[in-house]
Amino acid sequence: MDMHAHDRRRFLAIGAAAAASATPLLTACGAGFGSDNSKGGGSAADDVTGSFDWKRAKGRTVKALLNKHPYTDALIADLKAFTEKTGIKVEYDVFPEDNYFDKLTVDLSSGRASYDVFMLGAYMVWQYGPPGWLEDLGPWMRNSSATGAEWDQADFFPNLLSADQWSLKAGAPLGQGGQYALPWGWETNVVAYNTEVFRKLGLKPAETFDELREVAGAITRRAPGAGFDGMYGVAVRGSRSWATIHPGFMTMYARNGLKDFTVESGKVKPAMNSPEAIAFTRDWAEMVKKGGPPSWTSYTWYQCSSDLGAKKAGMLFDADTAAYFQAVKGASPASGKIAFHPGPKGPDGSLATNMWIWSLGMSARSRNKSAAWLFLQWATGKEHLRKGAIEYNHIDPVRKSVSQDPAYKDRMRAIPGFIETFETVVDRTEIQFTPQEQFFDATTSWAAALQEIYGGKNASSVLNSLAGDLASKVG
């Protein structure tokens, strides 16, 4: 780390002409990287000693940045319980998903630490971790003075917990290094379908990718004639955003045994232009054209989920929650007619599934870490998560105990196939991406490439140029 310190001095010397406030943005980030995390044993968690006490940080206030989400609604509704338990006040700001990460990124990058805790996805760890913005929660979890026994780390689905762990080295597998966030709620990517149209057309949920394309095409061709006005086969995301890649596309990609990047002796190399990947991508685009939504390139989860709800889409290959909230009683015209299925298997029967984990993280620059940790502990603890799953809409539990809770199971049984699907894929659901800092750039460009292939461009040339472009950025 000497080199960093040296560089920083040099940089500050150069920047001496800039006025005082020029430096915080720069040095804050630098300091975050250089000091907090690199000192190894220097975690603030080590300052917590003695026996565990929920009231340890009584009177403090924790500031939280939250994304507008049903899970958040459950959290906010239950905050009183936390304050009663700990004497800690929670102030929070809620932003819609479209703007949430911009807010969070700007806030973290400024080095001001306006928020002690926030929601993030596992992918964000790859962007926020290396600059040192995220607190390594490992020392906190391991410190029995800071963490109560009832938190029960073993109760988490292990793949979820390891998905938020990383060694901050591009290409290094997840599950090693620091714990930069805690899983809190998650989404697995499966197929939800309209039982009515399937029955009427005599269709069965697809078990292979070929079948999926066939079924999708069949619905687009036949459903409008069978009383489903304007219905098409399968809703998948298609907007020019990283979020287009990670749900259905990445799941099917992974089930086909394909990788986004390969790691050879520490070097990360793009692999989305392997012959198999090119063939798969071409087929995917073909499927969208023959059985996907019209104006697919503008499709985000809003459009996908509302089309399923409006009976415009026969299937939805996306996050299970996107379908779930259309499926619950009274939510949409299709509610009551939506069933779940794990989706097509890979050629070798793989049900590898990509996931999105709503996680909770702590700012490395928080001045309130002890209280923030208590909050994280509570929010990811059994008590709150069980309540959220049963009384509110915090579905897809990250804890085994909640997923097996009879009350929760009872509740979810109302949606056909939901629990079965969940249990089928839960063990095989993990992050299918190769962790690296340029994740957002890579997947955004990937989505753009997908759009171009869908628009009729040659798949291999588009993907080759994408790979060429990414090789220089990622490698």
Partner: protein, 323 residues
């Protein structure tokens, strides 16, 4: 002085007293203070905006480093960021898209806005009623307008295709092709901002002198001749102000495209500010992203300077037109 005001308005009271030699010393303001006066009036405005633009200078300063989330200890790289920008074909693609968008939007808004203004200027019954709600679209925030348009244009559940269906035009995939996406974004811009041009043009029309038109009418000049030779030249300065503002704003369009296409499909609507946003905020490459924005700013600055010069000349010429 009030009590002693002379009933006879001789050169009597106030500063005029002492008609001979200045019995009362008159207060003289030194020349330097007088020449300072206009600056004193303008400086607060500059400070107010300039103060806030201090961060802009800071941004400019960042651009000579390679500062990014992945490189928190930046190195001085000089003009490397700019060199990279200009070397990227994606920059030139974006520049092309941006210019196409800005020219398209500003041109359509100008033509449509002037046309609407001319029609409203006739002050028919219909016109007088509609004039009252002319600026309604301007009141919807562009980002919300874009979201609503996106919803309306969505082929599956959108209302526009639903309405077009009886005419055999259903199933148009508005934003799905590169051209379609660009035209749709321009259409939203046109929807939001045409009233802005129209209202400035209408104001211009209302303030034109009457006499040249009466003279033309007496001479039996046709509508087209009157429009080409009288209305348009005299109206142009007013319209040009609107065009400058619109052109400037559409060169740095953000919210409409952000909400409508995010730059897709492919890179077909990837205007400069969206790319800059992705680079600086989404991908956390500040120095590079901000260099992008500075480049955009410089381009807008130059284009506008030319336009404003032209405006100045036009306004001078217009003021020489008798009447």
């Amino acid at each position: 002085m009030s009590g002693r005001a002379s009933p006879v308005p001789e050169a009597g009271h106030g500063a005029a007293s002492g008609t001979g030699a200045g019995k009362r010393a008159v207060r003289a303001v030194p020349a330097w203070r007088r020449s300072l006066r206009p600056y004193l009036l303008i400086v607060p405005a500059l400070l107010l905006t300039g103060g806030i633009l201090y961060p802009f200078g800071l941004g400019l300063y960042y651009t000579v480093f390679d500062f990014a989330a992945s490189k928190p200890q930046p190195d001085l790289v000089g003009i490397e960021n700019y060199r990279r920008i200009f070397a990227q074909s994606s920059f030139w693609d974006s520049a092309r898209v941006t210019v196409a968008y800005a020219v398209g939007a500003a041109a359509v808004e100008t033509v449509l806005g002037v046309a609407v203004a001319l029609l409203l200027h006739r002050a028919s019954f219909v016109g007088r009623v509609l004039e009252k709600i002319l600026i309604l679209p301007l009141m919807i925030a562009p980002v919300i307008a874009a979201i609503m348009w996106k919803l309306m244009l969505q082929p599956s559940v959108g209302v526009i295709n639903h309405l077009l269906e009886p005419f055999g035009l259903g199933g148009v995939q508005w934003t799905d092709t590169p051209t379609g996406a660009l035209l749709s974004s321009i259409a939203v811009d046109v929807w939001v901002y045409t009233p802005f041009v129209a209202i400035l043009a209408l104001a211009g029309l209302r303030s034109l002198p009457v006499s040249p038109f009466e003279a033309a009418a007496v001479d039996g000049a046709g509508w087209w001749f009157t429009f080409r030779r009288l209305t348009l030249p005299m109206l142009w300065p007013y319209v040009l102000v609107a065009v400058i503002f619109r052109f400037m704003d559409s060169l740095k369009v953000f919210d409409i495209i952000y909400a409508l296409t995010e730059g897709g499909p492919g890179d077909s609507t990837m205007v400069l500010q969206i790319r800059a946003y992705l680079e600086a905020i989404r991908f956390q490459r500040y120095s590079f992203g901000i260099s992008y924005m500075i480049t955009l700013w410089a381009a807008v600055y130059l284009v506008t300077m030319v336009l404003v010069r032209y405006l100045g000349r036009i306004q001078n010429r217009a003021s020489e037109v008798p009447g």
